[in-house]
Amino acid sequence: MAILTYRDALNAALREEMQRDDRVFLMGEEVGVYQGAYKVSKGLLQEFGEMRVVDTPITELGFAGVGVGAAMVGLRPVIEFMTWNFALLALDQVVNAAAKMLYMSGGQFPMPMVFRGPNGAALQLGAQHSQAWEGWLTHIPGLKVVAPGTPADAKGLLKAAIRDDNPVIVLEGEMLYNMKGEVPDGDHVVPLGRAEVKREGTDVSIITWGKMVNVALQAAGQLAQQDVRAEVLDLRTLRPMDTAAVLETVAKTNRAVVLEEGWEVCGFGAQVADVIQREAFDHLDAPVLRVHQADVPMPYAKNLEKAAKPDAAKCVAAARRVLYLDR
């Protein structure tokens, strides 16, 4: 067991997978000479050379397509978007090409590739640099989507994503890169499609992923002081979602709060809530509540941004409402 930052955990995953399989390469803006815009790829250019750690021009659509082509003929690209906000430009390649190629070719062209980068808000980055994209990406059959919230899950899920023979979206976070946590030694791989209970409880289930896992744990700590034992379920993989784990926690606590950093309308939390109401209705003692960003583009001013974002206090308030402790 070692204590690593989330950043170093991703770095280790990339290094180990590139050592293990010479079909794996990393491509994106500033991944090489600059050592990575967020230093996730530090040292990789020196170790693997410029054919395997490829600096690109600022051309998201173009280099996402380069990854698609390389995957079609048997390489295993890891395409880095400096942030997922810029990936909007590349969505034709992610959705119309990568996600659909296997199906429309009648099974001839699997797409073993990873698209990864930081997702969601950081601090005062403004409207165009702060969006959470899981609502858009989980919508697409043909993609898998993961959102690690801890260093151990970052390493384990990225390794699994690289080994998976499908296109896998990895949603990281600028605010997560410095986070420290225990990471198991050796070839630590976290299977896709498996949620994890990060904190056990009996009174209410807080279901979440990514950056919000930490927020949920803070909320659970505050709730404990109010004599409420909250269970925190970290989905880890959004698509395919671990439905069994979701239903198990709701069966146990009978109350659910879904916490996400994105917007309300058609956010991934809506899908989680629908699955719960459809499959666990008789276990519920209250409606499922969602905690999410305010329905506005992200403002710059510090106080407004704080007001827009979900936080532990808002999560606690939602938990108290589903327990009917507050109205």
Partner: protein, 339 residues
């Protein structure tokens, strides 16, 4: 029919040249029957015919190795046949049957054959061009001398994806031949109304990419230009932007008028005088390599081949309902084990 064997540079072999004619005529007869099938409702959705452009597909494919790659647009029937896909497997795909090359899951715009390096059949204008750059990247990554040929229409060059893809090919020096099939119309929009510069091959200068323009109705000229581009790609790992000037004799798709809307009948009639099949036929006739009887016999065989494909497609079953959920994801990992 299999691809034309032995791509002899210069094509000094009379049998080889007859093979070129055969390949082009197969495409013509196939596409004519497609129009009929579409009108009968056997082919649905969009159907974009290649009639008039056969010298481009045949000329280029006749120069390729089996291990080269091809990627193209939705106007892909002619290219698929020229690359060696059977008329049966293509027609069955168009009819949406289980024996189609994509098991009925793709349709006209999405013909694929991994064994022939035929990477589709793509529906988003310009979308496949960066993919071609990626194939070239993979070839260079592996240290191979394969080439990727990327077909596109002239309207695609105004698209951002073209710009990004060509820039990287020129910057990284990748073995991709980008073939612009300039048939003068992007759907209903003439090139003069869409492109600030109409000599499209000149855009290669913006990316330091070698470039050329060629008469696409002359299969020998197409071959010559292709062989030069392939040599450059294999030896020097340099891309080429090859503008091939051609013309489509039908509308953009089966939903589009042949003439009288955005192009005049007079203009079409002018271009019909340079039917690539007629030109090749005349050239071989003049060289004493082909008689009218030879052509009639060849045509009869090819019509029978296309009829056989039609019958095969008609007899092929629709995909089973279980196929609806197949091939969304694979359940394997790089270890070869199940995920």
């Amino acid at each position: 029919m299999p691809p034309v064997p032995d791509p002899t540079p210069g094509g000094d072999d009379a049998a080889f040249r007859r093979g070129l004619l055969r390949g082009m005529l197969l495409q013509r007869r196939f596409e004519e029957r497609c129009a009929e099938a579409y009108a009968l409702g056997k082919i649905g959705g969009f159907c974009h015919l290649y009639i008039g452009q056969e010298a481009v597909s045949t000329g280029i494919m006749s120069c390729l190795r089996p291990d080269d790659y091809v990627i193209t647009t939705y106007r892909d029937h002619g290219q698929a046949l020229a690359r060696g896909m059977t008329a049966r497997t293509v027609m069955a795909e168009l009819f949406g049957r289980a024996d189609g090359c994509a098991r009925g899951k793709g349709g006209s715009m999405h013909l694929f054959d991994r064994s022939l390096g035929f990477l589709g059949g793509h529906g988003i204008v310009g979308g496949h061009i960066p993919i071609a750059t990626g194939v070239g990247f993979a070839v260079k990554y592996r240290g191979s001398d394969q080439v990727c040929v990327c077909f596109m229409g002239e309207a695609a060059v105004n698209n951002g994806a073209f710009h990004e893809a060509l820039n990287m090919a020129g910057l990284w020096k990748l073995p991709v031949v980008y073939v612009i099939e300039n048939n003068r119309y992007g759907m209903g929009t003439a090139i003069e109304r869409a492109a600030a510069i109409n000599d499209i091959y000149e855009r290669g200068a913006a990316y330091n990419v070698p470039r050329a323009v060629v008469d696409g109705q002359d299969v020998f000229a197409v071959r010559e230009a292709t062989l030069e581009a392939l040599g450059r790609a294999r030896t020097d790992h340099l891309p080429t932007l090859l503008e091939v000037r051609t013309y489509r004799f039908m509308g953009h798709s089966m939903s589009d008028a042949v003439s009288g809307t955005y192009r005049s009948k007079a203009e079409l009639d002018e271009h019909l005088k340079r039917d690539p099949i007629a030109l090749l036929r005349a050239a071989l006739h003049e060289a004493g390599e082909l008689t009218d009887a030879d052509v009639q016999a060849m045509d009869a065989e090819l019509k029978a081949e296309v009829q056989d494909a039609w019958d095969f497609a008609d007899a092929s079953p629709e995909p089973p309902l279980e196929a609806l959920f197949e091939d969304v994801l694979v359940d394997t990992t790089s270890d070869g084990r199940a995920a």
